[in-house]
């Protein structure tokens, strides 16, 4: 019985090998004659934009091979400053230690802001008492050794129910940014909250709990508007809801931040990388809303293109 079965083994294995080998043939020709490989790594926040740009870019330039990794902002900079990648995505500006490392390896680079990422503060759709929080109230809730345990601790008219907190984990750029602008120091936060690196876990947690409060990337709120209610934020100029417009024109403050790509200038002198970066800052902008982010005012992109011109010239 088994010997009959094993007879099929060889053809099946050969088929698997053939499938692998099928990958070896590289197809397609190219009209611009651009070719080569562009290695990109860095923040998972910037990833969806870069992925979209890479996808469209490769439709036009079929011989250019773009690869995108998600080592995180810090992990990406480690590879970038070792000269292993051409472009690095970052959800925060480069730190001094990272700059020094790049200098030590003779890596020069330019910084290009590519989009806004808003942080939305959310509660469950069932929550009927909250509309707005001030930055001071947010700090009261989230500061280290916070005294807030019940909603009534924030405003006496709110219910005397336990407040259940959800936020991204400490490795996340969103956590770093939120704690920096709200608590005054990156990483300083109370620690008795439900933490997850996966924002979808936070969405489910907040959506199913009437007395929950959480914060995470704006894109995750946009995709789950039916389950969540977004809280408007008063940064001193009245309550502002996060919307595409308020994030783009900067009135949703302080919880929106620019995200960047860093480009190695030596790589930028290669025609395929130059073309990719120009594509990113022109046609690429139209792709940004499709993946849940908000484009910057157009002056940022013209400035970015000028930086590219200066290097290439």
């Amino acid at each position: 019985m088994f010997s009959r079965k094993t007879r099929y083994l060889l053809p099946v294995l050969l088929l698997a090998v053939a499938f692998l080998a099928a990958g070896c043939g590289q197809e397609t020709t190219d009209k611009d004659g651009l070719s080569g490989t562009i290695a990109i790594d860095g923040s998972s926040t910037v990833f969806p934009i870069t992925e979209a740009v890479a996808e469209e870019f490769q439709k036009i330039n079929k011989d250019v091979r773009v690869t995108v990794g998600i080592s995180g902002t810090g992990g990406g900079f480690k590879k970038f400053s070792a000269g292993e990648t051409d472009i690095s995505g970052a959800s925060r500006p480069i730190k001094d230690v990272e700059k020094e490392l790049a200098e030590a390896n003779n890596i020069e680079y330019i910084e290009l802001p590519v989009a806004f990422d808003g942080i939305s503060v959310v509660v469950s759709a069932d929550n009927d008492f909250i509309d707005c929080l001030t930055v001071e109230e947010l700090q009261m809730i989230w500061e280290p050794e916070s005294k807030v345990t019940k909603w009534s601790d924030i405003r006496p008219e709110w219910p005397s129910k336990n407040i259940n907190l959800y936020a991204p984990g400490t490795d996340s750029g969103t956590f770093d940014y939120f704690t920096e602008v709200i608590n005054g120091k990156g990483g300083a936060s109370r620690s008795d909250f439900t933490a997850s690196e996966d924002d979808n876990v936070l969405v489910v947690g907040v959506a199913n709990d009437k007395y929950a409060l959480g914060y995470f990337g704006y894109a995750y709120y946009v995709e789950n508007q039916d389950k969540l209610k977004v809280v408007s934020i008063d940064g001193g100029n009245g309550c502002i809801l996060p919307t595409d417009e308020s994030i783009n024109n900067g009135t949703y403050s302080p919880l929106s931040r620019p995200i960047f790509i860093y480009v190695n200038t030596a790589s930028l002198r290669k025609p395929e990388v130059e073309e990719f970066v120009r594509f990113y800052l022109t046609e690429g902008i139209e792709l940004i809303p499709q993946v849940g982010y908000i484009p910057l005012p157009s002056s940022y992109y013209t400035q970015g293109l000028e930086k590219v011109d200066q290097v290439v010239r």
């Binding site: 099946v12 698997a16 590289q26 969806p48 870069t50 992925e51 996808e55 990794g69 996966d198 995709e223």
Partner: protein, 287 residues
């Protein structure tokens, strides 16, 4: 008195049987719940287009071609590296090595290696294969790292298998005038092969499902071409699945479930191959 004791013993016997059955039921229920959940979300996304497309920002157009081929590349490089080294190490340790402190030391350390978190192997792979040996973020670097990761599993399983071969078989072989190599080749290995293959099955499953060490060495997430050689960059199924589950758009979660089904299918195919081989050798031994 006697009858009562008899009844008690029978009751205990019965109780233990039911308890074991109940525990098995728990395991099976968990497995089926997981499978049900994955199939419910993923089956609608599973089609030919999904298998033959590259990743995309549009869920309808996205596929796992590069991840599937990357996983097959990695496994087909990892196993030929890990199996001979693992099995031969086990043969040396069990059949040749003298019983001394050094051997015991090596054995204990190999067993400990099996419990080292996979990310540590990733750091090792990044330092040695990617940077020092200059292999870059290639399939080969990934496969070598994965081979290191599963070596302890293969060695420990093979050692157990070889140790379980009764000494009477070896003695019989020597009595017929066989050399040590002939004894290993014609007696020990055939008798232990089924258990060695079981170890290899477990190791393969581990290698194909691992994500962390590959992210560490810089396997990629978005890649729209297939590796054309062992030095090309690559991605694998678990990385692609991980990436899709963390997207805000729920359609990508469906894609992730479909990716899991494909991963399970690949795993099932590889395991079936090994199980068929194992059964073949088991029969031969019993005949």
């Amino acid at each position: 008195m006697h009858a009562k004791k008899m009844q008690q013993r029978k009751q205990k016997n019965h109780l233990f049987k039911n308890l074991s059955f109940f525990m098995t039921l728990i395991t099976i229920t968990v497995l089926f719940l997981l499978l049900y959940d994955v199939f419910k979300d993923g089956i609608g996304w599973l089609n030919w287009n999904f298998l033959t497309s590259y990743p995309s920002r549009f869920p309808e157009q996205a596929g796992i071609k590069s991840a599937l081929v990357g996983s097959l590349w990695m496994i087909s490089l990892t196993m030929p590296i890990a199996i001979p080294i693992g099995v031969m190490t086990a043969i040396y340790l069990e059949e040749y090595s003298p019983e001394n402190r050094l051997t015991t030391f090596i054995r204990v350390n190999i067993a400990n290696l099996a419990g080292v978190p996979s990310i540590v192997f990733g750091i090792l792979g990044l330092t040695i294969f990617v940077r020092t040996l200059g292999l870059g973020r290639s399939v080969l670097a990934g496969s070598l790292t994965m081979a290191l990761l599963i070596l302890p599993i293969i060695i420990v399983a093979s050692q157990e298998a070889i140790r379980s071969v009764p000494n009477s078989l070896r003695d019989a072989s020597y009595a017929l005038g066989a050399t040590r190599w002939q004894t290993i080749r014609y007696t020990v290995l055939p008798a232990s092969l089924p258990s060695i293959l079981t170890g290899i099955i477990l190791a393969t499953s581990r290698a194909i499902g691992e994500t962390a060490p590959l992210i560490m060495i810089g396997a990629l997430t978005y890649i729209a071409f297939l590796p054309s050689g062992p030095l090309d960059s690559f991605t694998v199924l678990p990385i692609q699945i991980f990436n899709w589950t963390s997207r805000p758009n729920a359609d990508f979660h469906g894609l992730a479930a479909a990716g899991i089904i494909v991963l399970l299918a690949v795993l099932l195919f590889l395991n079936t191959t090994a199980i068929l081989l194992r059964n073949k050798y088991q029969r031969r031994l019993n005949d």
